[in-house]
C-alpha cells in the first residue's frame, strides 16, 4: 500500500512542479546575492544569509530557513489536504477501500507519502542550494578559509556540522508533520481537496499573524508555527535547547491530536462520494 502511494506521488507531475517552485526561491536568492553582493546585515534577515556571502557551503541551511516558514508548509498543506479528499473527488477512494485497503492503513500510507514528499523536497533544496551556493558564492570567500563558524562565532568541525544539520533536519520534519496532521484531518472532513488545503493554510497564516500581535501573547506558546525557526538554535555554541524542546512538545501535541482526530473521523465516516 505504501509502495502504491509513493508511486502515485512520484509519478504525479504536480509533485515535481511543486518541488521545482519551492527550489526556485533559494536559487533566485543565491543568484541575486552573487550578482549584487548585498547580504543582509548580520543579525537581520533570514537566518544564515549574512554568513553565506563568505561561505557558500552554508547556503543549504540558509535555503532551508527560507523555505521552512512559508513555502514548504503550504506545499505540505496542499499535498496532505489532497490525500483523502482528492481520492474521494476522483472517485478512487471507494475503489481503494473495497480492494480492501483498511482505512487506518490508508491514512498511514498517505501520511508516509506526505512525509516522503517533504524529504524529497528538502533533499532537492539542499542539493541544489549546495551546488548553487558553492558555484555562485563559494569562491567569494575573501577572509575566512578556516573551519565554518557557528552563528555564535566559534568554529565548528565538519562532523559537528553534519550532526547538527541532521538534528535540524529532523526538527524541520517534525514541524512539517504537524502541518501534515492538520491537513490530513481536514482532508478526511472536507468534500474538496482545495477546501482541506485552504483550511490548513488558514491555520498557518492565522498562527503567523497572531505571533506578531502582542495582545495574543497568551496564545503564543501554543501556536503551530511558534517554534519553527528554533532549529537555528541548534547551530549556536553551546546549543540552546530550551526552545527546541518546547517546539518538539508543541508539534508533538498537534501531531497526536490531529492524527487522532483524522483517524476517528475517517474510520467512522460514510463514504458517499
Amino acid at each position: 500500500m505504501i509502495h502504491a502511494e509513493l508511486s502515485k506521488l512520484l509519478r504525479n507531475r504536480r509533485t515535481w512542479g511543486t518541488i521545482a517552485i519551492i527550489d526556485a526561491l533559494p536559487t533566485l536568492v543565491a543568484v541575486l546575492l552573487a550578482m549584487t553582493d548585498l547580504g543582509p546585515r548580520p543579525g537581520t534577515g533570514p537566518a544564515f544569509l549574512s554568513a553565506v556571502l563568505t561561505d557558500g557551503t552554508l547556503f543549504p541551511l540558509a535555503a532551508l530557513a527560507m523555505v521552512l516558514p512559508l513555502f514548504l508548509p503550504i506545499a505540505v498543506a496542499l499535498v496532505a489536504g489532497e490525500a483523502v479528499a482528492g481520492e474521494a473527488q476522483q472517485g478512487t477512494l471507494r475503489y481503494l477501500l473495497i480492494r480492501p485497503v483498511g482505512r487506518t492503513r490508508l491514512l498511514v500510507a498517505k501520511l508516509v507519502a506526505v512525509m516522503a514528499f517533504v524529504v524529497v523536497t528538502v533533499l532537492v533544496v539542499a542539493v541544489t542550494s549546495y551546488v548553487v551556493g558553492v558555484l555562485l558564492l563559494g569562491d567569494q570567500t575573501v577572509t575566512v578559509t578556516g573551519p565554518t563558524t557557528s552563528i555564535s562565532g566559534s568554529p565548528m568541525s565538519t562532523p559537528e556540522l553534519v550532526g547538527r544539520t541532521g538534528l535540524a533536519f529532523a526538527y524541520a520534519m517534525l514541524c512539517m508533520l504537524g502541518v501534515a496532521a492538520v491537513a490530513l484531518f481536514l482532508s478526511t472532513v472536507a468534500r474538496s481537496p482545495l477546501g482541506a488545503a485552504m483550511g490548513a493554510m488558514t491555520l498557518l497564516v492565522a498562527s503567523t499573524l497572531l505571533l506578531t500581535l502582542d495582545a495574543a501573547q497568551a496564545l503564543h506558546p501554543y501556536l503551530l508555527t511558534r517554534h519553527w525557526l528554533a532549529f537555528v538554535d541548534l547551530f549556536r555554541d553551546p546549543i540552546r535547547w530550551d526552545e527546541v524542546v518546547r517546539g518538539v512538545l508543541v508539534q508533538g501535541a498537534y501531531v497526536v491530536v490531529f492524527l487522532g482526530a483524522a483517524w476517528a473521523s475517517f474510520t467512522t465516516k460514510d463514504i458517499t462520494d
Binding site: A4, G91, T92, R94, L96, I98, V101, D270, T272
Partner: protein, 329 residues
C-alpha cells in the same frame, strides 16, 4: 414450481447476499428502511428502484463504504463490514461510475489498483490486466491517459477493474451508463457469460428493460423499502388471460360470445389488426375452437405480465418528482 420459497428450499440454496432489517438514516432522513435482501448463488439479481430510492446507499452498505444505522449484512456467508478483509477480495464492484487517476493510462490505473490489493502475485499482474482488458473490449487500448477516455471507455475500464480478481460476486451499479447500444449488448453478453462461469451478479439499475432482459431474480426498492423481491419467472407469470390476434375480429368476438365460460376483452390496434384478450380459456382448446369455426388466427399465446406493470404497481413515483399532493394520483 412454487413462486414463494419455502423455508426448506431457503436453507438448501447458498446465500450470497443476505440482509436483515437493514436500515440507514442520514440525520432525520431514512434512506434505507428495514431492507431484507436475499440473493442466491448463481443469480443475476436485478436491483431496481427510482433515483433516490436508496439503491446506491444499500450497495455502499453491502461493500462496507457506508455504515448501517441498524440491521445485519451477510455477504458470501460472512458478516459485513466485520469480515471485510475476507469478503471483499472475492467481490468485484462498480459503484456510481468508475474512478480513475486521470493522468495515468488505463493499464497503469489497473496496475496501481492491483498493487493496493491484498492478493494476486506480482509476476502475473500484466497477464491479469491484459485478460481483464480483453474481456471488456479494451484489449488494444493505447497508452493515452484516462482523462482522454470517452465515458464508455471509462465505464469499460471500471468493469475491467472489477474483474481483475475473478470475483465470486459482482456488484454493479448502473454498469451500462454511457455505453452505446452496441456496448450495452457487449456488456450484457459478458455478464451472462461470467454468470455461466459461476459468478453471481448483483445489478443495480433504474432501467427496467435492462433488468428484464438479464435477471433471474428481482428486488424493487421504493422510498427506501424493499417492496418486491421474487424470481423473474414468478413476476412475469401468466396473467390467466390468452392473447388472440386475428384479422377476423368480429367473427371471433361473436363466436367467443357464445361460450358462456369466457370473458373477452378486446382492443383493436390499427397497425396489427385485431387483438382479443380472453380470460378463462385453455389456450390450446381455444385455438382449436376458433380454427374449427373458420376464424383465422395470427397469434395465440398465454399473456404474461410485463415487469414494468409489476414494478409500477408496487411503487410510487420517484423522489425526483415533486408534484402537488394529490395532483398526480
Amino acid at each position: 414450481m412454487s413462486a414463494t420459497p419455502t423455508s426448506a428450499t431457503a436453507d438448501d440454496v447458498r446465500r450470497v447476499i443476505r440482509t436483515d432489517a437493514l436500515t440507514k438514516r442520514f440525520g432525520r432522513v431514512t434512506a434505507v428502511d428495514a431492507v431484507a435482501l436475499d440473493v442466491r448463488e448463481g443469480d443475476v439479481y436485478g436491483f431496481l428502484g427510482a433515483n433516490g430510492s436508496g439503491k446506491t446507499t444499500t450497495v455502499r452498505m453491502l461493500l462496507g463504504l457506508v455504515l448501517a444505522t441498524s440491521g445485519d449484512i451477510e455477504v458470501l456467508g460472512e458478516p459485513m463490514p466485520g469480515s471485510a478483509r475476507a469478503v471483499l477480495p472475492r467481490v468485484g464492484a462498480l459503484v456510481e461510475g468508475p474512478g480513475t487517476y486521470p493522468h495515468l493510462s488505463g493499464r497503469a490505473n489497473l496496475a496501481l489498483l492491483d498493487a493496493t490489493g491484498a492478493d494476486g502475485p506480482r509476476r502475473t499482474r500484466t497477464r491479469r490486466i491484459d485478460e481483464a482488458l480483453e474481456r471488456v473490449g479494451l484489449a488494444s487500448v493505447d497508452g493515452r491517459p484516462a482523462r482522454a477516455y470517452s465515458l464508455g471507455m471509462r465505464q469499460r475500464l471500471g468493469l475491467a477493474a472489477a474483474l481483475l480478481r475473478r470475483p465470486d460476486l459482482l456488484v454493479l451499479d448502473e454498469p451500462t451508463n454511457g455505453l452505446d447500444p452496441q456496448g450495452i449488448h457487449e456488456i450484457r453478453t459478458l455478464l451472462l457469460e461470467l454468470n455461466r462461469e459461476g459468478t453471481t451478479v448483483f445489478l443495480s439499475s433504474h432501467l427496467l428493460a435492462e433488468i428484464e432482459q438479464m435477471c433471474t431474480r428481482v428486488g424493487v426498492l421504493d422510498g427506501g423499502r424493499l417492496v418486491l423481491q421474487d424470481q423473474m419467472d414468478a413476476l412475469r407469470g401468466p396473467t390467466g388471460r390468452t392473447e388472440v390476434r386475428t384479422p377476423d375480429l368480429e367473427e371471433a368476438r361473436r363466436l367467443l360470445a357464445t361460450m358462456p365460460d369466457l370473458e373477452v376483452e378486446s382492443t383493436v390496434d390499427e397497425h396489427e389488426g385485431g387483438r382479443l384478450l380472453v380470460r378463462g380459456a385453455e389456450p390450446a382448446d381455444l385455438n382449436a375452437r376458433l380454427v374449427e369455426a373458420g376464424v383465422r388466427v395470427t397469434l395465440l399465446s398465454p399473456e404474461r405480465r410485463h415487469l414494468e406493470d409489476v414494478v409500477l404497481a408496487a411503487t410510487t413515483s420517484g423522489t425526483d418528482r415533486f408534484g402537488r399532493a394529490g395532483a398526480s394520483a
